[in-house]
Symmetry: C2
Subunit: 191 residues, 2 copies
Amino acid sequence: MGRPRTFDDDVVLSRAMEAFWTNGYGGTSPAQLAEATGIAKGSLYNAFASKRELFTKCLELYHRQVAELAKGLLEHPGTTRECIGAALRFVVDSDLAQPLRRGCLVGNTAVELAGHDADIAQKIRGMQDESTGWFEARIQRGQRDGDVSRDLDPRAYAEYLANTLAGLRVMAMTHEAPVLYRIIETTLSTF
Amino acid sequence: MGRPRTFDDDVVLSRAMEAFWTNGYGGTSPAQLAEATGIAKGSLYNAFASKRELFTKCLELYHRQVAELAKGLLEHPGTTRECIGAALRFVVDSDLAQPLRRGCLVGNTAVELAGHDADIAQKIRGMQDESTGWFEARIQRGQRDGDVSRDLDPRAYAEYLANTLAGLRVMAMTHEAPVLYRIIETTLSTF
DNA sequence: ACCTTTCTTGAACTACTGGTCTAAAACGTG
DNA sequence: CACGTTTTAGACCAGTAGTTCAAGAAAGGT
């Protein structure tokens, strides 16, 4: 029944995500999206209704990818401090390894759109809360394992780490590795 | 000699800054700038050459205003910890008091433009370094006053605080006061 | 009073925006 | 192998982007 898609939705989504990540929502035109994905504007709108909806899907894809990575990193063997340090350093390394500094799509979107768009703001908030949750879970495990003090409030400390991470990704837009590593060291020295 | 300006450059700059702060560089059109400043597009281009140059001037104005405020706050009476806490809380309170969440113009610009524009990136970097300098100076004073340990590396800790601040202003786009205050508390509890 | 200079303004300009539509082509199905 | 459905590439649209410009207006110098 009907002609099938000639493109893989996930591949298109992934390429569109790269474009949005590089240029922001407002900075990415339908023409650029067509160019980046390799399919025509018409097909893009047929498949994803609007630029807004395509962006939302890209944002969700980004978050899913981050989630997978983050969980992997935090479940690695090692102490809580080692794990969290490795995770933060990994993010910084990834940011710096790219030819263009792009920051974090979630953070960038918070800055670009959250103030004007309650819907997006809520989605972003949800993603940030989830990230905080990963840190929280790792800290709680640390308390069970005995390498994190029971006096530490896991939620508060997870929020603190999420904030540090948000900061790092802004700082990575303009700073080099030594400064960023030093910030991570100082952060880790606090527990 | 020649017809004099009918407008005050500083007033126009300040209004343009508000517009850029609210909508970002790319999100602010010449028409909006004309509307916001109250002078015609032509006059704007006559006085400021281009949107880019106008923006640069706005960015510098913003930084100068922040500098004045920051210095005032950090020179207040009280311990280092009290001073820095008050400064961070002040920023959060200001962010949340506004009708629209706008974050920090310097941070927002880092995210929006630093990756694509080396010139802007350098300017932003300079402003961030200056902010770090204020923290550093306050910590050094604290070490002289005796309320901060001599073991603490003032530069590293200042970078750490600048990073926390950068994070807070992104987090303030989507989070409410209690979370932000808790992050500040956790940060302050580390020295 | 004129000339020069600098300012102001609104219109004009080109290129491109986000988004829609259409005609043709491509398929799975019966 | 024709059917109806769906995809596709590109034309198309009104609107806006950032910028320039011609024409007039307000001042000082002569």
